[in-house]
């Protein structure tokens, strides 16, 4: 993760109509509480990560009734504003999908610059662990009904909670220690691609 990646990522999310809040890891439950509607279901990665009102052991009925689903993302792709949601036994995929609002918790340290990085990350996981990952970019969308509409089958809204590493909190320069690659990248953002303008987001459902 570099500062440039974070800036690019946030700008892309903004283009996609995805809201973002940021804070230290310790503020995760609080940030999720602000972002989640009612009722909410979720999959927690760690204890105390989510507020009590988020049902973390939902029944299928809870899922059906839920307005918001809260899950972690394993990776963020800065150039595209995409988050990688990994399916698991706890139900991350249905919780992120059968709801109106998806609240995604992502650690800044898990941001990568671009698509090739994402697939370098995915390759070993797919081969060794048979991972199932969806790269989600903005809300569900369709243009099949004569105009662009969000929430065709999946979530109508997406919110990203971006968590800073504790030690780097409030001091962006401190990040270079934690993450070997941050130094020097922040000035020249090699990736002007895709930043301009709002994405038209026509629905493409091929295959």
């Amino acid at each position: 993760m570099s500062l440039a990646d974070r800036t690019t990522f946030k700008r892309r999310l903004d283009d996609l109509g995805v809201t973002v809040t940021e804070g230290p890891r310790s503020a995760c439950a609080e940030l999720v509480d602000e972002a989640a509607g009612e009722p909410a279901v979720g999959v927690a990665r760690a204890a105390a990560e989510l507020p009590d009102r988020v049902e973390t052991e939902p029944t299928t009925a809870d899922l059906r009734e839920a307005h918001t689903g809260v899950t972690a993302a394993e990776l963020g792709v800065a150039a595209y504003g995409s988050v990688a949601i990994e399916a698991d036994r706890a139900g991350t995929e249905p919780v992120s999908l059968f709801v109106d609002r998806h609240v995604v918790v992502l650690r800044e340290a898990d941001l990568v610059p671009d698509m090739p990085d994402a697939f370098e990350w995915l390759g070993p996981r797919a081969r060794d662990e048979s991972s199932d990952v969806v790269f989600a970019t903005g809300p569900s969308a369709t243009a099949d009904m004569g105009g662009l509409v969000h929430g065709a089958h999946g979530p109508k809204e997406v919110h990203v909670v971006l968590l800073r590493d504790e030690e780097a909190d409030g001091d962006a320069a401190g990040e270079s220690g934690a993450d070997g690659d941050a130094a020097g990248e922040s000035g020249a953002d090699g990736d002007a691609a895709g930043e301009s303008g709002a994405d038209e987001s026509e629905a493409t459902d091929d295959e």
């Binding site: 059906r64 249905p94 797919a126 081969r127 009904m145 004569g146 509409v149 089958h153 493409t204 295959e207």
Partner: protein, 744 residues
């Protein structure tokens, strides 16, 4: 080709009923593609990577098939390699109806499943099939076929969908806005997905190393289809295999941008099935979601051959297998924009690349039904993310269709003088008359006063329409009584002696410039000489463009060999080859790669220039712009002054010489407005044909809208663009070189 009334009628009807919706959507996608790919710094490099991955994958397909079988089986899934559609359907029906005893199968969008017609096969076995992609669902309710491979229902209006829902669901107060219609569909389909037994998807790509499949979607229906059912059947052509997961990257960056102009679609699912999620039990919904039910999921990958392995062995059709079905070639195509996939398509696939797919999967007869609609304008070529030469595939298939259509009963003896080609005797006359245009033009020029008068005589036009299919509503090109070559010889050859010249050039006397539009040839000579070039205009054979456009590859090859033989001497002597007609230059720079030995092709391609590209180069290298004509001197019949409207030729755009004219005119002080239309619609001989006259005029409509009321002087580089602009605007345009050349 006597006119096939039903074909013209069908096209007319589709233009009237679906044309507007298709045009609006496809033009929007096409503009989106240009913007979205324009934001990529490494667009060309990504295309190169994508192409390389596909070439490699198709090259070692048998090995990848073995590999993916191992990978999927190691993951706990099953792979079935189906020889054809019937084989695939038998396997899927047995699995679904018998083993699973399924009542309902839900599907996400898959063109391959349309190809094998699996819905019908399952319904025969009593399994209800529900399309969950909103566009596909609309078509299922309407009992219609997709009109576009990515956005299948673009031919339907919002109002039409509202009426359809009202009728099918007996609604007094049906949803009307796009939002209401979408939410109605979301709710209905949501319920159908919850109770489904089996989920079917396609696959955009499959990595052999891990058994991971990639799905490109936006709605989320593919995710729900997989998650909500415990049995997942994925249907994919064998060509979807790539070696590794890392190979997905360039395609993910290219596919949405190339298709609908989205940088990436909402969901890129990369599944290594069976997937790990629990199966939500919507019938007993009081149970915990995370109940371990994910462990019992079942996955079947049905890999389909259905003609693909034979395509792989076919040197010409093989390239089709690189297609990632992004729809760029449909959206960039003028004819497709006007008629959509219901006319420009076969059993399953539509758009330019469909000719390859339908020829390989269904056979030549199916491809023959729409192959004519590719005019070879080549605007799809730079749009294709895997660099497929789509016009060439169309040409090859046309050639095969021609050879398959031999009918010795035709009265060719009447026309043998006109058609000295290398094609089978029964090939239809319209094709051969156009294909032998060089001979027709030569004879027409010799007898110009009579030929031109006869050509316009009503009864003869009616006869010509019947025999050759050339529409009588078109003005025919008028032959000049003195060819460019004869004029040049009569004036005493070059005005700038070789000894005084900085460069020497051969002005290639292309058929149109030599026999029809001689004035632009004379203007080219004046412009080049004004810039100090020693010019020659030798008598040289035609390039082979007309026969190639008719799929007469042997004749085109023989023309290419003759033209090269005539030009090689000049190239060897260090002379530049300057071409006025862009479609002939495109032969030298592009198609000759397929017709000549590699070194000959490269030699001629490197030495040849578009006339405006050449003028641009001369000015860049110190040529005196003062020697050319500046706007102040007046620019012709329409409007004097400096304002110009310029339509670059389609093939000139593709080979990258469309903009030199703009640069030269601007350098001289003209104010240039460039057309936004990919192709004028005439496309060589296409717009002359009775079956396609109205379509051709419709494709040109945006040009009329842009330039119809202009007070600018209209210029265009292609002969057929000129004929079309004359028909559209009522005034013949001039070639840019006529604008900038000094007066006689």
């Amino acid at each position: 080709m006597s006119s096939d009334a039903s074909k013209a009628d069908r096209i007319r009807e589709l233009m009237a009923t679906e044309g507007d919706a298709v045009a609006e959507n496809t033009r929007g996608f096409n503009e989106g593609r240009i913007e979205s790919t324009g934001r990529l710094d490494d667009y060309e490099e990504l295309k190169g990577d994508a192409r390389e991955i596909k070439e490699d994958a198709i090259g070692r397909l048998p090995e990848l098939i073995d590999r993916v079988k191992e990978s999927v089986e190691a993951n706990g899934g099953t792979v079935y390699l189906a020889d054809d559609a019937a084989d695939a359907n038998r396997y899927i029906a047995e699995l679904t109806a018998e083993e699973r005893d399924a009542d309902r199968l839900v599907k996400s969008k898959s063109m391959t499943s349309e190809e094998i017609e699996v819905n019908e096969a399952l319904e025969e076995e009593g399994v209800e099939v529900v399309e969950t992609d909103l566009g596909e669902w609309v078509l299922q309710l309407a009992d219609e076929a997709p009109s576009h491979i990515v956005a299948p229902a673009i031919h339907k209006s919002r109002e039409g969908i509202s009426e359809l829902f009202a009728e099918r669901f007996d609604l007094d107060d049906p949803p009307e806005t796009a939002e209401e219609l979408t939410m109605f569909a979301r709710e209905r389909l949501g319920e159908l997905i919850e109770d489904a037994d089996v989920g079917m998807t396609g696959a955009n790509f499959i990595a052999a190393d891990s058994g991971t499949m990639l799905l490109v979607t936006s709605e989320g229906n593919a995710r729900k289809t997989v998650t909500a059912t415990d049995t997942h059947v994925a249907v994919a052509g064998v060509e979807k295999l790539v070696p590794t997961v890392e190979d997905f990257a360039p395609f993910v960056e290219l596919i949405g941008r190339s298709g609908t102009g989205q940088d990436v679609t909402s969901y890129i699912s990369t599944l290594t099935p069976p997937v790990g999620s629990p199966v939500p039990d919507f019938r007993n919904d009081a149970d915990p979601l995370a109940d371990g039910s994910g462990d019992d999921r079942d996955f079947h990958l049905v890999l389909i051959d259905n003609g693909r392995m034979a395509m792989r062995d076919d040197e010409e059709l093989k390239e089709t297998l690189y297609c990632i079905r992004c729809s760029a070639c449909s959206n960039a195509c003028g004819n497709f924009q006007s008629v959509g996939g219901h006319a420009f398509g076969g059993e399953t696939y539509s758009g330019g690349i469909a000719t390859g797919w339908e020829a390989g999967i269904e056979g030549l007869d199916t491809a023959a039904e729409f192959n004519d609609l590719c005019t070879g304008c080549s605007r799809c070529v730079p749009a294709c993310p895997v660099e497929i030469d789509i016009p060439w595939i169309n040409t090859v298939v046309r050639d095969r269709i021609n050879r398959g259509e031999v009918d010795s009963g035709q009265t060719d003896w009447l026309f043998e003088e006109l058609v000295p080609d290398e094609e089978p005797a029964g090939l239809d006359l319209g094709t051969r008359v156009v294909g032998n245009y060089e001979t027709v033009a030569k004879l027409g020029s010799l007898a110009a006063p009579i030929a031109n008068r006869l050509a316009d005589a009503g009864p003869l036009r009616a006869l010509a329409e019947r025999v050759t299919g050339i529409d009588r509503r078109r003005d025919l090109p008028e032959f000049a009584s003195e060819s460019l070559v004869d004029w040049f010889e009569r004036r005493g050859g070059a005005a700038v002696p070789a000894d005084d010249a900085a460069r020497e050039a051969v002005l290639y006397p292309d058929t149109a410039t030599n026999y029809v539009d001689v004035d632009r040839g004379k203007a080219a000579v004046r412009a080049l000489e004004a810039l100090g070039v020693h010019v020659r205009v030798p008598d040289l054979p035609g390039s082979g463009r007309p026969p190639l456009s008719q799929g007469m590859i042997s004749t085109a090859k023989s023309s290419a060999e003759d033209a090269y033989a005539g030009l090689a001497l000049h190239v060897d002597a260090g002379r530049d080859v300057v071409v006025v007609e862009p479609s002939d230059l495109a032969m030298f720079r592009s198609e000759y790669e397929k017709l000549l030995p590699a070194s000959s092709f490269e030699r001629l391609a490197d030495a040849s220039y578009d006339v405006m590209e050449y003028v641009f180069g001369l000015l860049e290298n110190g040529g005196d712009p003062g020697a050319l004509r500046a706007p102040a001197e007046g620019t012709g019949p329409v409007a004097s002054g400096k304002r110009v409207a310029y339509h670059p030729h389609c093939q000139a755009r593709t080979i990258g010489v469309g903009e030199h004219a703009t640069a030269v005119m601007e350098r001289l002080g003209y104010d240039v407005r460039v057309s936004e239309t990919e192709c004028c619609g005439m496309a060589g001989s296409f717009g002359y044909k009775t079956d396609y006259y109205e379509l051709s005029m419709d494709v040109g409509e945006p040009l009329r809208e842009q330039f119809g009321d202009t007070d600018r002087t209209v210029v265009a580089s292609g002969t057929s663009c000129g004929e079309q602009l004359d028909a559209l605007l009522g005034t013949p345009p001039m070639h840019p070189v006529e604008l900038v050349a000094p007066r006689e």
